[in-house]
């Protein structure tokens, strides 16, 4: 497949770009942040996402969705990255939907997916337990109890965890932390007895929570995937999330760079535009090259998720790692080249740096994915 957008995809990008720039530019995030909005996102915007077909982007048309693919999802994420738009799109429409879709429980999906596509259901994956992403280290216990299980343990960095209706919880039903075997995924109601949610206000003013599960009882039919063999499903959901974050970071990096480039042309010091200084030109050129190369890696990961889902892991690792480093470079150079104004809260560029840091950390940072690639390449 050619590593470019199709005509339809290009049209979709243009429409998503116009939509997000209009409805949810950086000022939208700023307003939510400064008003200390308790949800941290706009439900009105989320309804508009549903109307655009974004919420159900991966959901088949028969179940009220748009029936589109990962490239299209990535297109939206890139525009979200450009505008720093907070929304449950990643947690619900991509990671959450993937878990449901690939689990494939027809009855459950008939109930949940239309709601999800309509913007009426929020769900999120609760996987991390420590400060660094390490899904195999899952330790939250799932103890058999009657017809079902009892879940006990803590999760952190649960994106949109404070607003989600349902959690997809990775739990240890067998084996020991560090093993892939013995992990089971459960669908847990946020209002279930024993669930305690603490919103964590993050540096990027996006949403996350810490969640405590204190002997939370779930039925056997709360299991997603297979008992003790939830790993492939977990990986599937994570890989979709990682590729989506890579797309977001790519869009974010390009926007930060674009703003920097404009500033380099406009700002004058010593009687000339600072962009005429060769040392800055070379640095800008380097950032540009890094971002261009990342574009290709991100698109490849998204295309491979569409074309050959099971073989996408290596490309996803490459895309997430590279998007993290190139966006980091872009925002660091952005702040530095903007000088003092770039350090002020009033100016937008710092918000890009903040979001880049969080997106780089979420679902595995550069080091995590470098290790992952090395293992996939057998060294």
């Amino acid at each position: 497949m050619a590593l470019i957008l199709t005509e339809e995809q290009t049209m979709m990008r243009d429409s998503a770009r116009a939509f997000l720039a209009d409805k949810a530019p950086v000022a939208h995030l700023r307003k939510l942040r400064d008003s200390r909005d308790t949800a941290g996102f706009s439900r009105e915007l989320w309804k508009a996402f549903a109307a655009m077909g974004f919420c159900g982007i991966l959901v088949p048309e028969a179940q009220g969705g748009s029936g589109l693919g990962h490239v299209e999802a990535g297109i939206i994420m890139a525009e979200i990255g450009r505008n720093l738009t907070p929304s449950p799109f990643l947690s619900t429409a991509l990671v959450g939907a993937t878990a449901l879709l690939r689990d494939g429980n027809a009855a459950r999906n008939r109930e949940l997916l239309p709601k999800l596509a309509a913007g009426d259901l929020l769900l999120t994956l609760a996987v991390d337990e420590r400060a660094k992403h390490a899904p195999a280290a899952t330790a939250l216990t799932a103890e058999r109890s009657g017809n079902g299980f009892k879940l006990s343990g803590d999760k952190c960095f649960v994106v949109d965890g404070h607003v989600a209706d349902l959690f997809i919880v990775a739990a240890r039903s067998a084996g020991v932390p560090g093993e892939r075997e013995g992990v089971t995924l459960f669908l847990v109601d946020a209002r279930a007895q024993g669930v305690a949610v603490e919103r964590t206000v993050m540096v990027d003013a996006h949403n996350a929570a810490r969640i405590r599960f204190d002997g939370v009882a779930v039925d056997a039919d709360a299991v997603l995937g297979e008992v003790d063999r939830g790993w492939p499903l977990l990986e599937a959901a994570l890989n979709v999330g990682r590729a989506a974050l890579a797309a977001e970071l790519a869009g974010l990096g390009e926007e930060a760079f674009g703003r920097t480039l404009s500033y380099l042309k406009a700002r004058k010091q010593f009687g000339r535009p600072i962009g005429s200084f060769q040392a800055l030109q070379h640095r800008a050129a380097r950032v540009f090259v890094e971002l261009e190369i990342t574009q290709a890696a991100v698109l490849k990961a998204l295309q491979t998720l569409d074309a050959d889902f099971e073989r996408a892991a290596a490309f996803v690792a490459v895309a997430k790692a590279r998007a993290g480093t190139s966006a980091t470079l872009a925002v660091q150079e952005a702040v530095q080249l903007h000088g003092g104004i770039g350090m002020t809260d009033e100016f937008d560029i710092g918000l890009f740096m903040k979001r880049a840091r969080v997106a780089q950390e979420l679902f595995g940072d550069h080091g995590f994915h470098a290790d992952r690639l090395a293992r996939l390449q057998n060294y």
Partner: protein
């Protein structure tokens, strides 16, 4: 040198008797510092007493002549005082831009009347000063500053705006670079003036940084009348003073160095864990060790530059080199701390993260390579003045 020994004995006895116990605790927060001024608030009675007692002895500025509020100590005596204070963990009784920045200017360029008017209140911590240098359109190119001071006979009429004025909202007076000749080449039309921040037409607005609160302000001047006698040095000769003070400031920034304390790898182990005594994340461990190598080497380079200075072999490179490299190191350090801290380091509020301390420090470190002369400016200075590379 019997006198010095006696001075040391007396100093010890006096400090032991007069430095309040809470003034021997390390400074943790900005409120622990005493900045004085008309609006001074003291965090504790100890802080107030300590200032009062030190002022009485002239020891807020021990080497200044007594007529300006100092104690007239010799270099050796002042060294002993500093050493004995350090040994006891005594805090500085008074932090002051007046002492650090304005006073050297007044000693070198001020008139005797100006010294008499301004130095004693500085020494006593009665008047707090701020510095009006940068403007929104004059960052690295400071000399292009646009704040006008029009000659109105007995006074200047000042209009314009300053930025990055640290503590302008808390200061009583400002020393300020202004343009007094708009026709002259940019370096030749600048003057150095002083005025009271309560003068009508002065307004300040604190700047919120990406890391949160900051001491920085924007400062606005709208038809501010400044008496002519508040001009320091000659009219249109302010750039020389500015350069003198910038060099001074660069050295102050330079001497900060890096935080001592636990090696970064051990801090990282708090979140990442260890296996067989080795940090669990091998890639990050290698990055951290590389950082520590550079950090240790940098500390040694600082030490060496001090020794070279003492030996009279100081390189003119030192201040730019130190400024540049310490910014890079501090930024690397905070990037590594963020990587080690993972999602916990991304929390922005709340007790667990101590109000987002790690993230805020990380963001704050991004300013290191901008404030007090950008890293690009430092590299220009090194290339031109030390390596003697030609202009374009």
């Amino acid at each position: 040198m019997p006198d010095l020994e006696q001075f040391r004995r007396e100093t010890r006895a006096w400090l032991d008797a007069n430095c309040p116990p809470d003034m021997r605790q390390p400074v943790v927060a900005d409120e622990d510092r005493c900045w004085g001024g008309r609006k001074a608030t003291f965090k504790s009675e100890g802080q107030r007493l300590w200032l009062e007692r030190m002022v009485a002895r002239g020891w807020t500025v021990p080497e200044w002549p007594q007529q300006y509020g100092g104690a007239g100590l010799s270099r050796e005596e002042a060294g002993i005082l500093r050493a004995e204070m350090r040994r006891r963990g005594c805090r500085s009784p008074l932090d002051s831009f007046g002492i650090w920045m304005l006073a050297p200017v007044l000693f070198k360029y001020g008139s005797e009347a100006q010294r008499h008017e301004h130095l004693p209140p500085i020494a006593r911590g009665e008047i707090r000063w701020c510095q009006g240098y940068s403007e929104p359109n004059s960052g690295s190119d400071l000399a292009s500053l646009a704040t006008r001071a029009e000659d109105k006979g007995d006074h200047f009429l000042v209009n314009g705006q300053k930025i990055w004025t640290s503590y302008a909202d808390k200061a009583d007076w400002i020393f300020c670079l202004v343009r007094t000749d708009t026709a002259a080449p940019k370096h030749l039309g600048i003057s150095f003036i002083l005025f009271d921040m309560t003068t009508p037409g002065v307004a300040t607005k604190p700047i919120l940084l990406i890391s949160g609160k900051s001491p920085f302000c924007e400062t606005f001047f709208d038809n501010v009348r400044v008496p002519k006698r508040n001009l320091v040095g000659d009219v249109n000769k302010g750039w020389e003073i500015a350069k003198y003070l910038l060099a001074h400031e660069r050295e102050t920034v330079s001497s900060v160095g890096l935080p001592a304390g636990r090696p970064l790898g051990q801090i990282a182990a708090d979140t990442l864990g260890s296996q067989d005594g080795v940090l669990a994340d091998a890639g990050l461990r290698a990055d951290i060790a590389r950082f520590e190598i550079d950090a240790i080497a940098f500390q040694l380079a600082l030490e060496r530059s001090g020794d070279l200075l003492k030996a009279g072999q100081a390189s003119p490179a030192v201040s730019s080199m130190v400024k540049f490299y310490s910014a890079e190191l501090n930024q690397r350090r905070h990037e590594l701390l963020m990587a080690a801290g993972g999602s916990a380091a991304l929390e922005w509020e709340g007790e667990r993260s101590r109000g987002g301390e790690r993230a805020r420090n990380w963001l704050r470190s991004k300013g290191n390579s901008i404030e007090g002369g950008t890293n690009e400016v430092q590299l220009n200075v090194i290339a031109k003045r030390i390596l003697d590379l030609p202009d374009a």
